[in-house]
Symmetry: C2
Subunit: 145 residues, 2 copies
């Protein structure tokens, strides 16, 4: 059995809801260090690796790109960097997320409107949905002009 506070890649994976291949991918990308190995070549992680991985996963769940996560980790490692830098990154991300949210909302409305048009009793030749996708609408016309 492995020492307490030590993990194989699989144990780290379980503890962080990550796949082992993903962990190795993070290592390759430089987000996680090259861990020490057993004589047989198995990776041996410790709790600080787990902490770092959990940080990565949380930030990823919040929609940060790996690049952003890396920058965040760099900042976090630099204890005397100004906290405002972190907040700036967060604010920009929040702006991006809100924009995506707006777009997705508009999309939802459009799809909902589209789904209302189906009588459900016809053939494709008279399908209002296909029709709507096929015909130039105001937006297309305006953009193309």
């Amino acid at each position: 059995m492995m020492q307490v506070g030590k993990y194989t890649v699989g144990q780290l994976a379980r503890a962080s809801q990550t796949k082992t291949v993903t962990i190795r991918y993070y290592e390759q990308r430089g987000l996680l260090r090259d861990p020490p190995r057993t004589p047989g070549g198995y990776r041996v992680y410790d709790t600080s690796d787990l902490q770092r991985l959990l940080f990565i996963r949380r930030a990823r769940n919040l929609g940060f790109s790996l690049r952003s996560v890396n920058e965040l980790l760099d900042l976090a490692d630099l204890n005397d960097a100004p906290c405002a830098d972190v907040n700036a990154k967060l604010s920009q991300h929040l702006i991006d997320v809100r924009e995506r949210l707006d777009q997705l909302q508009a999309l939802e409305e459009e799809l909902h409107g589209l789904s209302q048009r189906c009588q459900g009793d016809g053939k494709i030749s008279s399908c209002q949905i296909i029709e709507a996708l096929s015909v130039d609408r105001d937006r297309d016309a305006a953009r193309a002009s």
Copy 2:
């Protein structure tokens, strides 16, 4: 000059707000036919190609995957397929979009909450945001157990 109703790839690109490489990519993926060529090898498209491309772009703008767009095109080509098939695809897509919307909304709230925690006057060592990302919160703890 090119005949009326005929387009080079670049003209098709301009008329559909697409990049030429993307058009060739769609051709490669089988969404657009291999068009006839000039003696010199230039692709020559006509208005039906433009219609089809506009259909693709509209569906893509609505968040359909290329695979779905392809299925939709297949249905549209089959004039006697039941319209309900199209509606089923649309409904499923609407469900997916609404799910993404919910997730993005939750994300927005979390990020907003996080951004409220910045005092903006400290160093990383006392950054509440980094803190929040670093520390196990209820969700992580619950999932890992």
